[in-house]
């Protein structure tokens, strides 16, 4: 099967500054694919190169096999939902939605019908004759979505479309977007800096930093088995510890934690030496029998959870996350606690 979008060694340079360092990605048909990263990581630039708003300095962009890297945006069968919607202020909602169809030369009756259907899909049928300025942010967002979907693109590009909405609306739109993607069967390429958005909606996520793709995988992959320090740190909360690996046998690495505590954890490719170890706070339990000792600094109440901020014997900070259940015993500040690491809780990082 041909990939919906295939990027091959895509480079973007602005003068002497390199924004994208040879990115290669393959995005499957019908996939909800997310480019996730902090601001300035190049995710939006990459999306804009797929849309055609930025020229590629080098590399190929293939859309269902055809190289589109040198086409103007109006010749690329992809559509974009813009961060601030970019609705045409002088056109009614229905005219906005029908604009792409009009440009494709579809006759008035047909494009009205199709645009009407699109508005129905985003639950805005009765707003068809309003002007964009008369709509709320959430409604404008859905008009932008309907407008981009109306020409039935093969690939839909979404540039942080939810970032301007308030929390409740954002959460509702996540579900709506995901449903829409599944119903239409269109490939979505979604750009966001919000990891929760990425984790909840995406089939696969590419984590980006400094113009490079750090890791590509499902939400579970990148959360549970981060490849490197950046991914482990950027996705969710984690405890990053400097460890000394002294031997690797049968796919298990033996190491010493800061403070001298010994630990073994599965690792396919680790080499002896100094490495970063990631331990997720929620994969640690407090147990009197725990051999790894820590001193509690503070307990932070988060509602559903409790965050225990503590220090290991050598002073390195270590966070534990406890569920706020009835049977949970809350440690006191200053107390020494024993920590128990579940199997697989610790992951040795490549760098």
């Amino acid at each position: 099967m041909t990939a919906a979008v295939h990027l091959q060694d895509v480079v973007k340079r602005y003068g002497s500054v390199t924004a994208i360092h040879g990115v290669s990605l393959t995005i499957a048909d019908n996939e909800f694919f997310t480019l996730l990263g902090p601001s300035g990581c190049g995710k939006t630039t990459l999306l804009r190169m797929i849309a055609g708003f930025e020229a590629v300095t080098a590399g190929e962009i293939r859309l269902f096999g055809d190289d589109i890297a040198r086409l103007d945006p109006n010749h690329r069968p992809v559509n974009t939902v813009f961060q601030h919607y970019a609705l045409f202020p002088h056109m009614s909602v229905i005219d906005n939605v029908a604009f792409g169809l009009k440009m494709q030369g579809i006759d008035l009756a047909a494009r009205r019908t199709r645009a009407g259907k699109m508005l129905e899909m985003v639950h805005l049928s009765h707003f068809a004759d309003r002007m964009p300025a008369q709509l709320s942010g959430g409604q404008q967002q859905r008009v932008a979505l309907a407008r981009a979907l109306a020409p039935a693109p093969k690939v839909l590009l979404l540039d942080e479309p939810l970032s301007a909405l308030d929390l409740k609306l954002r959460q509702a739109m996540r579900v709506e977007l995901k449903t829409l993607q599944q119903e239409t069967g269109i490939t979505f390429i979604f750009v966001t800096h919000d990891q929760e958005e990425a984790l909840t909606m995406s089939d696969r996520i590419a984590v980006m930093s400094e113009g490079r793709v750090q890791q590509v995988g499902s939400a579970r992959d990148i959360y549970e088995t981060p490849d490197n320090r950046f991914v482990a740190d950027f996705i969710g909360e984690t405890n990053l510890l400097e460890v000394d690996v002294h031997s690797v046998t049968d796919g298990r690495a033996s190491m010493t934690l800061p403070g001298g505590h010994p630990l073994t954890c599965p690792s396919a490719s680790a080499t002896p030496g100094r490495h970063a170890l990631s331990i997720r706070p929620e994969r640690v339990t407090i147990a009197a029998t725990g051999e790894l000792k820590a001193t509690v600094d503070r307990v932070v109440y988060l509602g559903t959870d409790l965050q225990v901020l503590s220090r290991l014997a050598d002073g390195s900070p270590f966070t534990i996350r406890l569920q706020n259940a009835a049977r949970t015993t809350i440690p006191e500040a200053g107390a020494t606690i024993g920590l128990h690491l579940e199997e697989g809780a610790a992951r040795l990082l490549a760098d």
């Binding site: 849309a51 055609g52 708003f53 103007d72 945006p73 109006n74 010749h75 992809v78 559509n79 974009t80 813009f82 601030h84 970019a86 609705l87 045409f88 202020p89 002088h90 604009f99 792409g100 440009m103 494709q104 407008r147 981009a148 020409p151």
Partner: protein, 299 residues
């Protein structure tokens, strides 16, 4: 704002008095004076006598022959001057729009720090008196001026082009005088234009020309209309360019009115009447425009 202190409210009216005085003294009163003067009788040394008459309007529209004893007919002299003025002002507006839009677009799309320099370059000639600039223009285009001599030197023409005292020269003067009034409001509109709209249009398969026609022009239209009004209205009443660059055949309303108030040959009531007619004409145009605009806004 909501629920704020309302104690300033009783002061609002007294505080507005200076503004009403300014509007009254500098806008309403002069117009009123002119309206009154247009109905007075001409005095020989260029003043007025306080006798009500329609003579000025009659002189403008009606002729009864050289000695005033023939049957009344439509007087075409002044209507022709008006018509020429409107035509010249329209051409000037169109030219300014044609050149002004790309200029404004160019400036508005430069990096923020260099826009100021470009705007400065546009306005810098306007620090010199308009009279001086118009006279200079005449020197440039006269028979033995640099333009004609240059063209003859490179052998493009053998005889100097007769430019001075033509409609073309007047048009050149008008265009040169009013171009910035077109550039500046369009610049302001283009600077506010959200270029993501052009990207959105391109994303939805619009070509560059279609994007310009369907998105850019409608969105920056208010700036273009403001520019057109700012050029058309003063161009219609201009008198320096037609006076200095034109001749008898290129006479415009501005010069006609100007003459009525000069020396003892003048005719104040007639000048006032011509001004009133000109103002009425401009107002009619503006009202039609405002109506069309509000109808469009409502649709």
């Amino acid at each position: 704002m909501a629920g704020g202190d309302d104690s300033w409210r009783p002061l609002a009216r007294p505080l507005l008095i200076p503004i009403w005085v300014v509007i009254g003294v500098f806008s309403l009163l002069p117009v009123l004076l002119m309206a009154v003067y247009s109905f007075l009788t001409k005095e020989f040394r260029g003043g007025v006598e306080w006798d009500f008459t329609l003579a000025a309007y009659d002189q403008f529209f009606v002729t009864r022959g050289l000695f005033g004893d023939e049957p009344a007919q439509i007087e075409w002299t002044y209507i022709t001057i008006f018509w020429r003025s409107i035509w010249q002002a329209l051409i000037c507006t169109a030219l300014c729009l044609l050149i002004g839009f790309p200029t404004a677009w160019f400036i508005a799309t430069r990096p923020a720090q260099s826009r100021g320099i470009w705007l400065f370059l546009i306005t810098i000639p306007y620090w010199v008196n308009l009279l001086i600039r118009t006279v200079s223009l005449k020197f440039l285009i006269r028979d033995n001026g640099p333009l004609n001599e240059g063209l003859m030197a490179i052998g493009l023409i053998t005889e100097p082009l007769p430019l001075v005292n033509t409609n073309l020269a007047v048009q050149l003067g008008l265009f040169y005088s009013y171009l910035p009034f077109m550039v500046l409001p369009i610049y302001a509109a283009v600077e506010r234009y959200n270029f993501a709209l052009s990207e959105a249009a391109a994303d939805l398969y619009a070509s560059r020309w279609t994007t310009l026609r369907e998105i850019v022009l409608p969105v920056v239209k208010p700036g273009m209309i403001a520019g057109c009004i700012l050029v058309f209205v003063p161009a219609l009443g201009a008198f320096l360019a037609p006076d200095l660059l034109g001749g008898a055949k290129t006479f415009m309303i501005g010069s006609l009115i100007d003459e009525q108030f000069k020396g003892s040959q003048g005719n104040w009531p007639f000048g006032a009447a011509a001004s009133m007619i000109l103002m009425t004409l401009v107002l009619i145009v503006l009202v039609f425009y405002a109506r069309a605009a509000s109808r469009e806004g409502a649709a």
